[in-house]
Symmetry: C2
DNA sequence: GTCGCTGGTTGCAGACTACAACTCAGCCGG
DNA sequence: CCGGCTGAGTTGTAGTCTGCAACCAGCGAC
């Protein structure tokens, strides 16, 4: 591990170090995954697109979010969210209720059907992931999960995550 | 770590275990990343799309690949690759040469210009990643990178990876 | 030479996205 | 109460990325 570098907190990663190579790898592999996920998501679950699935999943965890919240969380344009939400509603998977306190906002809720479908998709997707992660020692799984969370918790990605994730982040600091 | 589970190689991950939760998290975070990457890639480097960049990067590492190789590696349809390659060629970033041995295949090479642009993009992208990963202990970076590679190296995704990555994998094992 | 296979291209259609222009609802200063 | 401002969401438009299917062109076996 070439101890030539003395990593300090702000600039632990510099050119030429193994850490730098690792960063490169992380970047490359994450991107590769991104492409794949998209490509395969449709095939795996024709019923639910990748985005739809994610939004649905988000709502399962946090029922009663507003469209704007979702947009901010996922760094998506509000128009995109609007359309996705419309599609989900058309499919009967979510409901849009007008907030009685502020008639501008619409609060989103999963329907029974939505919860059901989501369960199915989650199950099959989880099976795939499980197969893929089978044979990994539990310790590695936990660490991998923690790394990913920590990585995604970076505030730069989505402004509102700062708020949302602060609790989570403490877990790993 | 609830030693109740005795992980054997094929079914280490089961319902209800911490490992299962970890799988869930991995799934969720990877997906979240996938969405984000796509969304932000365009903004970060208007010059190069996410896919273009990745293909270019691949060629930098392994010059002289064929379009089919790329398609297999990234689990993309050959038509997609064909179009991307065409675009890259139009932009003068790569060259397509006909393989003298087999006139069906076209071998892909980076041009000087391509190498140059790629360098710039890589640099700025790496800066972003570095910022994001700053403060991570080198040990964690290496492990994270290894996990990602290991994850992506799963043969189900791209049949030819098994072969291609075996060398790399050794690096991190 | 013909058949089948492989590498690649093209036509087509669909999903996801952003940007901009717009509506509608609440809010605030006067 | 009115006019202007802001925030939530929708719609029009356009661009990219994608896969599938049909296609063409070499290559190899027979």
């Amino acid at each position: 591990m070439t101890a030539a570098e003395t990593p300090d907190e702000t600039t632990a990663v510099l050119d030429g170090t193994p850490a730098d190579a690792a960063v490169e790898t992380i970047h490359r592999e994450m991107t590769a995954f991104a492409r794949r996920a998209r490509a395969s998501a449709g095939r795996m679950h024709p019923q639910l697109s990748l985005v739809s699935y994610t939004l649905l999943g988000h709502l399962e965890e946090r029922d009663g979010r507003r469209a704007t919240d979702l947009a901010a969380h996922y760094a998506l344009d509000k128009s995109t969210v609007s359309r996705q939400v419309s599609a989900l509603q058309r499919a009967g998977l979510i409901e849009r209720r007008v907030d009685p306190e502020d008639h501008r906002v619409q609060v989103l809720h999963l329907t029974e059907s939505g919860r059901h479908i989501l369960g199915q998709v989650t199950e099959s997707r989880r099976a795939a992931f499980r197969e893929r992660l089978a044979g990994w020692p539990e310790e590695d799984l936990l660490r991998f999960a923690a790394y990913l969370e920590r990585y995604n918790a970076w505030p730069g990605g989505a402004p509102d995550e700062e708020r949302e994730r602060s609790a989570l982040r403490d877990t790993y600091r």
